[in-house]
Amino acid sequence: MKWQADILIKGQTHGEVLRLDAPISFWGGISPRSSEVTLASHPQFGVKISHKILVIPEMIGSSSSSAVLLELIYKGIGPRGLILGAGDAILPIGVVIAQQMEWGSIPILKLPSAPFVSGDQLVLEESGQILKISH
């Protein structure tokens, strides 16, 4: 199966999906030290987002979230890619800075109602196309 997403940050990657089943703000919701979800009331509480393709249907926008994503990429414990349910400039700004600092980059795509669940194996292509390999 293939889906065409909008590109917020261009790039290619592949890996396992982690779906965040409730809205989250990276600041106050994800530890910049360990990449763990630290919000006690969140369904993915305690799970590490490191090296996953994160599917985030709904964000809550703390404006410091870009700093948390940047810190994760800087430490090499960031996600491999993001699939957002809606447009957002806060998280992509973290990646733009990481690119400028030459710390690496990850693709960020926008796909409303993305049907992916945790455990799915995806390929994200530079064109914004998403391929599902298996669950």
Binding site: G28, I60, S63, S64, E71, K75, G87, I93, M101
Partner: protein, 417 residues
């Protein structure tokens, strides 16, 4: 996207320093992602990105500074992670303190005025009606948009400083007049007029409205025209901590709402929400996670306390000391005013811990571990538990003072009739 000659020249590196190019690239990238067609010139900025979250942000700001980036518009700084007048006050590790300090220094190097406050609008930075600005810090965004009528979106880490350096922001959202009209009416005329004048009503109403409106612009009907700067500050902080909206009109009070119809752009409201007394009490009670009982600390000043608020506090406290630690967070602008008449010494003699340049929910100052923290701030109440592990109890300023003197929660219910 349409860019001017100078914007293109900075972007390509033909004009300005490498730091200017980097900043312009960030502003243009944000504009593309937000769907803006052009950039708008801004006249001032307030930077939220000087609070330490990790080494990466420090290295980035130092690179900007070293590459010659300097702010092009008057720019103030929000709180940092340190009280620079008393660095031992916070429990960050020596390494973290060093990095937090380097981040603050990098902002000064880039030409920011070192205000280190979340209330720049009470420290002389008051943009004028209709001015385009790029401000960060949610309460300051809500205040400058709503109370002053300047135009900004909610700018966050890195984009704020990039806008200040470029003197540009993506022209979208609340920068555009057509997006500043209210769609919802929040009607408080059904509430007791005496309750509507209470200081503590403002943060409670604000936190309720934030939850009700999400990111929709609304207009409040029925607030007394006598609302003070400090009351509006507490109201805006309440709205901004629970909601995603950066602008709330108050009919007869705020400049873009001389009356209800103007605030609505002479278009009927999509919805009118009538606030009941029960809704107020429910919103008030949501600000307390702990129930009545012993308290471990009391904290004031989110947003930063003003000179007037300190004077009210001193009157309420009398000469009776406190049995739990009391923290008052403020900027240097307030401290300097207090020093003129010796009020700062009065506060210290009462046992108050003055927290300057920072605040107790953004950096570890409260005792490690858990505890119950009483406050009159909706914003402290909202963030205390997740950021500090302390459970908030909300009360009026008077409740806070008598409770800190007694060591347990004392609520005056008459305020809420």
């Amino acid at each position: 996207m349409q860019l001017s000659q100078i914007e293109k020249a900075i972007l390509s590196g033909d004009a300005g320093t490498p730091g200017n190019t980097m900043a312009m690239e960030i502003v243009v990238a944000a504009a593309r992602m937000l769907g803006a067609d052009e950039l708008v010139e801004i006249e001032s900025s307030h930077i939220d990105g000087c609070l330490y979250h990790g080494d990466s942000g420090v290295l980035f700001c130092e690179k900007l500074a070293n590459d010659g980036a300097r702010v092009k518009v008057p720019t103030t700084t929000n709180v940092g992670a340190l009280n620079l007048l008393k660095p031992d006050q916070c429990r960050l590790s020596p390494d973290e303190k060093k990095m937090a300090y380097r981040l603050m220094v990098a902002h000064e190097t880039m030409g920011c005025a070192p205000s280190w406050t979340c209330t720049p609008y009470q420290a002389g930075a008051r943009p004028k009606l209709g001015q385009q600005v790029a401000w960060g810090e949610s309460n300051a965004v809500a205040f400058t948009n709503s109370v002053l009528g300047a135009r900004t979106n909610r700018y966050g880490d890195f984009l704020d400083i990039a806008c200040a350096i470029s003197a540009r922001a993506p022209y979208i959202g609340l920068h555009k007049p057509e997006n500043r009209k209210a769609k919802l009416v929040i009607d408080v005329t059904g509430l007791n007029p005496i309750l509507r004048k209470q200081d503590a009503f403002c943060p409670v109403l604000g936190s309720m409205i934030g939850r009700l409106v999400g990111d929709t612009v609304c207009v409040v009907r029925g607030m007394p025209p006598s609302a003070t700067d400090d009351q509006l500050k507490a109201f805006c902080a309440g709205v901004a901590s629970t909601g995603a909206v950066g602008l709330v009109h108050i009919a007869g009070v705020t400049p873009e709402a001389p009356d209800l119809a103007t605030a609505l752009g002479h278009v009927p409201a999509v919805k009118i929400i009538k606030v009941t007394h029960d809704m107020v009490i429910e919103a008030r009670d949501r600000l307390s996670l702990a129930s009545a009982g012993p308290i471990d600390s009391m904290a004031l000043g989110s947003p930063h306390f003003s000179y007037d608020e300190c004077q009210t506090f001193l009157k309420l406290a009398g000469d009776q000391s406190f049995v739990v630690p009391v923290y008052i967070c403020m900027g240097r602008h307030t401290l300097e005013q207090l020093q003129l008449d010796g009020s700062d010494i009065q506060l210290v003699e009462l046992g108050v811990e003055l927290v300057i340049d920072t605040c107790v929910v953004v950096t570890p100052i409260l005792p490690a571990g858990s505890g119950v923290m009483m406050t009159n701030s909706a914003k402290f109440a909202h963030y205390a538990n997740s950021n500090t592990g302390h459970q908030p109890v909300f009360g009026t300023l008077s409740d806070c003072v008598v409770s800190a003197q007694a060591g347990h929660v004392i609520w005056d219910e008459e305020v809420w009739l």
